[in-house]
Symmetry: C2
Subunit: 131 residues, 2 copies
DNA sequence: TATATATTTTAGTAGAATACTAACATTATG
DNA sequence: CATAATGTTAGTATTCTACTAAAATATATA
């Protein structure tokens, strides 16, 4: 339930949560992240040991803690997206650049940034800042 | 002259540039980064192979490219510091949090953020945004 | 049910980055 | 020259990423 998350782990969490259909299995993760099954297997095992995801009969899902981690990443992502696009950064450009940093950002700082821009409910793509 | 930089490499670049006195030697780097000499040796070699720093008679310095990299990191860092503190984040807190992401940020996006906040010359600590 | 297909897991390998100790080499300084 | 300071090499270890090949386990279909 502790410890930092890597970029690949971040991508896995996002992919898992945002997968088109349920249930999500190992091969879905591998496919989405463009990695082979054994690599996905290790990634998933690491995330399980970090308490972020769980596996039941091959079905992979976020734990409660994992959902919190996901939410924090998304809130950071969309908060920064709003700030970036307000400054004239193209929203797709903003999205890909912010994907490199969102999982490293401090929750409390993001909260303050969000408040300062007026607690908007949605990001430039129309998605909720707090999912 | 290409390729991404890691957090440790980022810290090394900053430490090297901001060292109190010249010349900077390997043991100064090790001391500043709190690592042993052989670890510093490898780090320095990696940065040399990336074209960021150079070594002459044991004296370590940034290359022209390294100075550019340093400048980009600092500009990103201070731009974000201004944005964070404007939202009420404590400046020391902001500094340490931003240190985790500044080296990953896109130069062009930072330029737009900076312009949007009125191209200030100095960060909350009074240091130049463009060193 | 038996065979075939799909999926997962294990084993083995590899490379980049980080970091250490111990030993050895080099360079100053006294 | 000898001692101290500094640098380098060698060897080991851990984490993360990623692969192939092979084995195991499901699941599906004939």
């Amino acid at each position: 339930m502790e410890g930092n998350i890597t970029k690949k782990e971040r991508d896995c969490i996002i992919a898992l949560h945002d997968h088109i259909s349920l249930p999500v299995r190992l091969f879905n993760i591998a496919e989405m992240l463009n990695i082979k099954a054994p690599t996905a297997h290790e990634l998933v095992n690491r995330l399980i040991s970090k308490g972020v995801i769980e596996k039941n009969n091959g079905v992979i899902s976020l734990t409660e803690y994992g959902n919190k981690v996901y939410g924090d990443i998304i809130t950071a992502h969309r908060t920064m997206e709003i700030i970036f696009t307000k400054s004239g950064v193209n929203s797709d450009e903003a999205c890909s650049e912010i994907g490199k940093i969102d999982y490293l950002m401090d929750e409390k700082s993001i909260e303050k940034l969000l408040l300062n821009i007026g607690n908007p409910e949605k990001c430039p793509h129309g998605k909720p800042v707090k999912p």
